[in-house]
Symmetry: D3
Subunit: 283 residues, 6 copies
């Protein structure tokens, strides 16, 4: 279930992660740590970046957050303190850190890419190229990192690609079919790889165009054309852009509104985080 | 459910991935592609590497594999052909590619790291630092890439870390507790950060030692000590080793049996793969 | 899971319906019908209307459809024939008919309301006032009956109501927040109860206005104002309109684009349908 | 799971209803309502009737009930007050009202039909013609409205219909099979469409007869026959009776013990209810 | 889900049993048996008894049954042959045998107890004292063994015990409440420990009495009293009767209709069954 | 989900057990016990033995334990007191007692078998012959009773049986394959039925041998051979040993380390336990 006010947090996702780690039981902890032992600890950032996923950690083990999701931290920063039953904490430790490292890695990359285009008017957005089963959390991490979310999935936006166009018999008829059949609160976006396709899309009156796999020069020229023919339309660039900061800025400077990046979610390196235990007392 | 003979493949994982992408329906496809349209396509590798996850793709859409999991491919290689209902294929495309790109990315990195230590007698192994919800598939991808799997989770091995030692009152009593309480088919491994700890672990008669966060020189010296005092024991190196090929080889050459790498699963970049559609016919 | 190409059909919904009816077993059938008995039957419409839900029935018991979803039928029409294991068919009969009667009732009402506004340029659309647990199927029945679907839920459209406006500090800032934070493929609609609110919404540049609870005269005047100030904007009427055919037509004739009706899904009377068994043979 | 003492309330039903409405998130609320905003409101009846489902609403959002389930209210009555996190309340509002409107609609119709037969000795009972997935709640609403529940499903009663009779080789052998095979705490009821069938059922010693699709005259004559031949037997009338109050009373006056009505659950119009928000404060 | 025509068989129960055994994978089989190996085998009874659960085995691994559920077999009898993928069969073997041994153990005990009372007019019935999670299958095994099923759970029968009586204010008012509130297809049974209680129950007109924890002499006298005062009433004996054959027959000879035995399901010893593999071929 | 620190306790197992008993509702209690009634009671042991499962009972109904799991009790001992809502307690009573009786039966048998081998150096261990769906709880009861747990399932240990040997082409190659492919924290055990097989296993350097279905004399001779050739190796006896105390001791005295007994979990008789209610008050 989607929690009513913690975006992206589905308790079942957390439970499944614990289940796959615990299996039939944490044999080491049950064998060596007496029931009733208490322990305290601190979660530390081992690199600089943006933290995301503290509420997920909270669903695994109760703790006191020292920072908030979206906050930039330096290497060595203390993120949270924990105190509780030693068996439970030792058993849950890895799962909690796996979430935190994965999501903070995405938030950190989102922040870096967003900074690269700062001041240009373009926004960095994510895609549907997410890790299976973690879309809600990954999109949350993207937003927390300062980038924007594209559609969540196939049901909250119309994005017409070449096969839809072929099946519908052309851009004009594809767009007409979308207007006729899709709910009226969804905008219609068409993927264009050439100027010819862009002209067709503009003629069909689409709301957004996706300029796919274009060179910087092609992009710049396409943007000029679109701005001239359809002043209010939204323009998105996509396709093999990557997370190189200079390239990102160059793309942004062509005048597009959005740059969508699969790498934000499918190739963000893990954020290095650890849990240092301190006290150990018997109840 | 674990499939009876496809390691790592749990149909529920695939179904949840489709669900999170489809949401309340693929509005674009339903609006623009007439029911009954048929389509064919080819899955292509866009980079060199090792393929993993074809059986997962098969659980999403039926297809004909042209390679097998674990096979090394070059950029441009055709991995599979598909033919079927256009609506179903267009709707499932992204989910299938997300699995294939993620798992092939891991298999490719596992292959590269394994090659780096070839001939040294050391094996590269994974860790529990996996993406939440995907452990079985990621461990499968590691094995397909030629590296080895460490324990799957907390229930299939005893790995005693410093907090377990503190709670049990020392290495000797922690190992004794594990021998007394854990099932007798599980080996006992102890994490050691110093030579002193290593000597204690050897004296306690452990089956495996984990040398954590040691310099190359420390590692080499620890291995010599262990080989002298406990000839048949298994030795694992771990802790911030990373995937740099030269560093990996140097670690392997200290004489350890296993090098465990969190990066294999938590930081493998996505493998670039695409689905090119070809024919489009009306039923 | 959402089936890849049967809109609205989630096998789990069907399974739960069977489960709640069967409980611990169909004691009557198991006690009185010998295993191996075969039976044949026909599903009959007992009233005129539009059929919806045949694919759901197919998920309960295998059958041969004689009509298709969306087809108008007369009282007495044969909808499908069945043949199979008598125990299975007798056990599943009520569940199958409950789905078919409920969904065909909605499709029939959708058809009647759609006919009432035929030729006016206005379309009848559904709302989120659906029966809990059956939204996908009910929205499918609405579409099959010829009416249109509004957003499926809270994630595929921005619809700003008075409390959102209060919380955001006015229509202008609410719309600005939506533009800034919501995915760019979602249109922004604002609910207006007065001309003043309508003017504010128009000034804020919304994509769609929802004219709520207005009299026919107010509606007509609001439509005129909107068409003058924002020629391309979409206009939706809502609020206590009901399914009276004459009233519906009068609302449509004010020039709105959409009329949304909760009654389509929350108050459609059941469509009368029965299953007549014919042959009965021993295997 | 069935709650241990709230009849009909399965938290999973509520969670699924919230899930299908929220989808990937309430974009409007998240975009326009700042985190930490508090809000208060009142649930109002917009028509007279019987309230049912307050405990379901309570499972969606915490509130203070001003009436109890089963209580008759007038139009305008305040049913409950709420106070809480504005984001959570706005997101859950529609789901809560959908349950309350649906169940109160059924309770209201059950009350009306029960009143129609008051003083006759006959009771109005529901059937298995319920909305798929909501049987427990709908049967609860029927009881709350003052009518009685027939069997919940196929496992808590033996009801022999014509196909069971054909398969078993006659009424006598069907009844004998039921006595032999069904648990001994279940009564045996036989559906009869003619006097001949009724005589057979009486001869077989059934506990209850269901007089199906009979005219008022046929019913009256069948009741007389049954009372004469089997004084203590229970008699139920069924089949196309509908919810017309006068017809109901006429059926009741034939002397039957029970009148079963599919319309109670499959065609009850929605009860009109709304949630008016009042205060809005920042935390 | 309850299968539509295999009583007691819920595929989820089988899947969970496989899951708990397989965990993260059958490491022995995956490590030692090459993919593609084929194997054949035979399931053998290692003791005499009644077989139950073959359809459950069939849900685990496909096989050819040589006997049917409910058939009496001798030690050494061949129950089924299997042929298939060696990995799948070796992995599923223990789960299949666990079901078969457990259910056949119950069926065998049910057969023995039923034979002990043969010819007396009394029937042996089960209780709700079943193994958690397996009630449907265990009740199925009881029936297959020739004994009868009592109510499946709390919803398919009214059984008034002493605490219900205390809460309702006496037997008469408890019975009256049950008649007023419970569905009319459920019989009402009252538990009686003394003659005084029995007289009260008879006076209240119950359908069935449960004579609990009485000596043989008390039972015989209670039966005489009940037969005299309420000729058609059903009488059940219960409470610490056990599965001793002579005691069972003595209880039956007091003239009761039913003897309910918790031991049928909670203490039946496992039926000894094994799977002998024969051929082993490479695909 | 596995609870983080209550071994074996999965709330879903408890919920399913309640569900299968409650079905569509506890009609007796709802009909006869007024809402708001309070009740108190005591859980009593009706035989001597070892208690197991109190934490499971606690998951069903809140109570105050008077003993702890693993404690030996005499007949008549008070195990726990309860106080709460009468409807909830009466509805949950049977499910709670079913768990407690089943698990305490296993713990009691485990204690008895363990005592039989006291002082011999051998330990009694369980097997994978558990009741489907209850493995975690049953293994917990075994441990609480003082016996040891063998592997939990197929993933936490390598146990090579004759079919694995055939498929791998001999004991030597099977062991080599296991060493190469299985995770390095798992020991390798080989099942041996003859001295020849034992010699092969010893030569292959296995960690544990399982001596299966041997006579006492064969066992004693095999143990001598193994102790001579492989001093540190673990030896397990298995196969038709049963729970006869004298036979168990004789097996233990052959010098084996472990005796594994399927009967511990698949044939333990139920432990007799009851719940006596005392007070009954109206709220």
């Amino acid at each position: 279930m989607h929690s009513l006010n913690a975006p992206g947090l589905d308790p079942a996702v957390v439970r499944r992660a614990l289940d796959e780690d615990i299996g039939s039981g944490d044999v080491t902890t049950l064998a060596t740590v007496p029931a009733g032992t208490r322990i305290g600890g601190t979660i530390l950032a081992r690199q600089a970046g943006v933290v995301a996923g503290l509420s997920v950690v909270d669903a695994v083990v109760r703790f006191t957050a020292l920072v908030t999701d979206g906050q930039a931290v330096t290497a060595g920063a203390e993120l949270a303190t924990l105190e509780g039953d030693a068996r439970a904490l030792l058993t849950a430790e890895r799962t909690a850190l796996n979430f935190l490292g994965h999501l903070s890695g995405i938030a950190t990359l989102a922040m870096q890419c967003t900074r690269a285009v700062e001041g240009t008017g373009a926004a960095v957005v994510d895609t549907r190229k997410t890790t299976p089963g973690l879309r809600a959390l990954e999109k949350y991490a993207v937003a927390v990192g300062g980038a924007r979310n594209h559609r969540f999935g196939l049901s909250d936006g119309v994005l017409i690609k070449d096969n839809h166009i072929k099946a519908a018999g052309g851009i004009a008829s594809a767009v007409a079919a979308a207007r006729r059949n899709a709910p009226h609160l969804l905008r219609v976006e068409v993927e264009c790889e050439t100027t010819a396709e862009l002209r067709e899309a503009l003629a069909a009156g689409v709301d957004v165009v996706l300029l796919d796999n274009m060179s910087l020069a092609e992009l710049a020229s396409a943007v000029r054309l679109a701005r001239e023919l359809a002043p209010g339309m939204l323009i998105e660039a996509s396709g093999g852009i990557g997370t190189d900061r200079e390239r990102l800025r160059a793309v942004a400077e062509t005048g597009v509104d959005f740059i969508s990046l699969g790498a934000l979610t499918h190739s963000a390196p893990n954020f290095d985080v650890s849990l240092e235990f301190a006290e150990l007392t018997r109840r």
